[in-house]
């Protein structure tokens, strides 16, 4: 059977005959480019979704069609051609390699710097591994332990099949389909993602990491994550793996929703190091993410993020502090180098009484990059005794980069206490000479200074994640001197 050309596919889509059969050919597992209602239906159909899910997607699509791409962020990039993207692609079949010798040496070099074991390197680079590697057995044990506690942790596509009532109840309740342009797009076409449910009173005994999730087929362009912590439960969730990702998809628009019911706590940690483009600013991922969590009474949500990748980042993990005494935290390190642009921050929406939020943002800019913090602290009229503390520190390297801070404060209740501190510093020649004089070369000195600068946030990461994040900072800033 000869393979389908894109035109063939397009033709079939038009005549609605796509529903049958042609997916068996692996090479043609990608939809034709472009987006319309039929494509949305086809995605839903392909995933064998129930009617309510299809309807939900269609509704999102109709909303999206009427929306315009936002342009208020402090980033400049060529607008993606939304009709030039293929919206469904089955898990990529990467070419299997026979040994590490066949792997891109740059990639291996990065693996080495991150201290990733040889076996793990093979797995990540898709080299056929003939012995059972650790992570497989870890994953099995992991699943068993979670099962005993009644914790659900699976791809969201599976959850839609196996736990439709839970997904239907919560999906889109924190980030409605109409929330923003990218969230609407994601809702219409999301490929896969993770679903996690922690039952009442259960403390999840281990860090939940997508890294260990079985059946992970690449993160995909439009990832959807939903985490529900039932009353009195606790979970620490790690997103992303610190291994370098060479995903060439230009546009990424993920949505993450966190729901912390009464007395629950969710810690959500992210390390993002998608391809930032080359030193001249060519290529790289556009990352437009919507992340938001809602806290019921006495609940707590902490976002911790280390952002070193992507050419353009647009991301504001937020907390809606709906319940009384609820707590929201945002700890962020955003590194930009070369021509990267990041506009990132948070929104803390205080609605309940005695709600508290903390924002610690560390921006590091090098090369010709632009790094913006954008944050909103909103205190509603009924939020008696709301408190916020924000600290935004910027570290500059060289004279060609930029750091910007856009704090917004809206206080509608007089009892609110809002504190904002901001500093901007530059890595000084004197600091570098001091380190050099002690035998530390400039590259290492910068890593040391940057790690020191970021310490308050690095400390919030789970231990092993923090170690890798530190190495990642070092790698991201390589070549930023001179």
């Amino acid at each position: 059977m000869s393979k389908y050309t894109e035109e063939d596919l397009e033709q079939e889509l038009k005549t609605k005959e796509y529903e049958y059969g042609f997916y068996t050919d692996i090479e043609s597992e990608t939809f034709a480019k472009g987006l319309n209602e039929d494509v949305v239906r086809a995605i839903s159909k392909k995933k064998n979704e129930p009617q309510w899910m299809t309807d939900w997607r269609i509704e999102a699509f109709r909303v999206w069609e009427k929306m315009e791409e936002p342009d208020w962020a402090n980033v400049k990039y060529p607008k993606p051609d939304f009709q030039g993207i293929a919206y469904y692609s089955a898990p990529k079949q990467k070419p299997k390699l026979n040994s590490l010798d066949e792997v891109d040496p740059d990639l291996l070099e990065t693996f080495k710097k991150l201290g990733i074991s040889l076996e793990e390197q093979k797995r990540l680079a898709n080299v056929a591994v003939d012995i059972v590697i650790d992570s497989v057995s870890v994953a099995t044990t992991f699943k068993k332990t979670l099962g005993e506690k009644g914790i659900i942790f699976m791809p969201i596509s599976e959850a839609i099949q196996e736990h439709p009532e839970l997904v239907r109840k919560h999906l889109g309740t924190v980030v409605p389909t109409s929330d923003n342009f990218y969230a609407a797009l994601n809702s219409a076409v999301f490929s896969d993602g993770s679903f996690c449910y922690i039952p009442k009173g259960v403390k999840c005994p281990m860090e939940l990491s997508t890294y260990f999730r079985i059946n992970e087929g690449g993160t995909g362009q439009f990832e959807r994550t939903l985490v529900v912590a039932d009353k009195g439960s606790y979970v620490s969730y790690l997103e992303g793996c610190t291994a370098p990702s060479r995903d060439e998809n230009q546009l990424h628009a993920a949505v993450v929703e966190l729901i912390a019911l009464d007395d629950a706590e969710i810690k959500y940690s992210t390390v993002q190091n998608w391809y930032p483009g080359d030193a001249d600013g060519k290529g790289g991922v556009f990352n437009f993410v919507t992340k938001r969590g809602i806290c019921e009474t006495n609940a707590k949500i902490s976002w911790t993020q280390v952002e070193t990748g992507s050419a353009v980042t647009w991301k504001y993990p937020s907390c809606i502090l709906k319940g009384n005494n609820s707590v929201g935290e945002f700890y962020s390190i955003a590194v930009t180098n070369h021509h990267q642009q990041a506009d990132t921050g948070t929104k803390m929406i205080h609605l309940g009484k005695n709600t508290k939020s903390t924002i610690i943002s560390k921006g590091i800019s090098a090369g010709k990059s632009q790094n913006s913090y954008r944050g909103l602290v909103h205190v509603g009229a009924r939020a008696e005794n709301a408190r916020n503390f924000s600290q935004c520190d910027s570290l500059l390297m060289g004279n060609a980069c930029g750091a910007h801070t856009f704090p917004y404060i809206e206080a509608k209740n007089k009892s609110a206490q809002i504190e904002h501190e901001a500093t901007t510093s530059k890595i000084g020649e004197d600091q570098l000479f001091y380190c050099n004089q002690r035998g530390i070369d400039t590259e290492k000195a910068i890593a040391l200074i940057v790690n020191g600068f970021s310490k308050e946030v690095l400390n919030k990461l789970p231990m092993e994640f923090a170690v890798e994040a530190q190495k990642l900072l070092e790698i991201s800033l390589e070549g930023s001197v001179g």
């Binding site: 004197d430 600091q431 001091y434 004089q437 002690r438 035998g439 070369d441 040391l448 200074i449 020191g452």
Partner: protein, 249 residues
């Protein structure tokens, strides 16, 4: 160990060192004294390799090897240590983490493995006792919020940890009260051996009561204009620098 011959150096086209000569042998302590603006700190920074200064003529040899083209970290790896007059702050980096990095980077340059944590800990314990440094001090961010005395003590602590061949103490006595001065000087004396050398740059004779130099040099207008033994420092203290200046005329 250190041999400087006819050294000329300038910064922003302003000539500061104008034909300076000095030779320091292993096991010796040299003091360099002189009025403000004589070029004392410039000399220290040039030996350490600070790039803002331009060496226009002359040679700097360490153990017979010309080091004037080496990067500052390479000079450090070769055993040059500078105790800074104004040590910089590095927020978020603890004293321990900093010295650990410095030691391991130096070892790496020599093709050695990282120092085992156990040995590092033992060494830190010994050296911090030597300088009467409190354990809590070691976990603080480098020089951040340190008093003048703490900063200088920290410099000497690093010197003790790095065990340099040639240590240059740039105005280590400034900002020290008498107790701190004694502790720092004791430290330096205990670290002294027949294999290393110390250059003490100072304004006043005070420090030299504790660290007794074999040679005292007077630096004036970019040159060493007088060299003597420890008694020269006392003479300077009594008579001031004008006496030397007059002698030169």
């Amino acid at each position: 160990m250190l041999k400087i011959n006819n050294l000329h150096a300038s910064i922003d086209d302003k000539s500061i060192l104008k034909g300076l000569n000095i030779e320091v042998k292993a096991g010796e302590i040299h003091a360099i004294m002189g009025p403000n603006g004589a070029g004392k700190s410039t000399l220290a920074n040039i030996i350490a390799g600070k790039e803002e200064y331009e060496v226009t003529d002359g040679i700097i040899e360490l153990d017979g090897e010309d080091i004037s083209e080496l990067a500052p970290e390479e000079r450090a790896h070769n055993g040059v240590f500078l105790s800074f007059q104004y040590p910089v702050e590095i927020p978020g980096v603890s004293v321990t983490n900093f010295i650990k990095t410095a030691i391991n980077e130096t070892r790496k340059a020599k093709g050695l493995e990282d120092m085992p944590a156990k040995d590092m800990l033992k060494m830190i314990r010994e050296k911090s006792e030597l300088l009467e440094i409190d354990r809590k001090f070691l976990s603080r961010s480098l020089n951040e919020g340190f008093s003048g005395g703490e900063k200088k003590r920290n410099e000497i602590f690093q010197m003790a940890m790095l065990e340099p061949k040639l240590a240059i103490l740039d105005e280590t006595d400034s900002g020290l009260d008498i107790d701190a001065l004694r502790i720092v000087a004791n430290g330096v004396n205990k670290l002294k051996s027949k294999d290393n050398a110390v250059i003490v740059i100072t304004h006043y004779q005070r420090l030299l009561d504790y660290i007794v130099p074999d040679f005292v040099h007077v630096l004036h207008d970019g040159k060493i204009v007088k060299t003597g033994d420890a008694s020269l420092a006392l003479e300077l203290e009594a008579k001031g620098y004008d006496w030397i200046k007059k002698e030169l005329v």
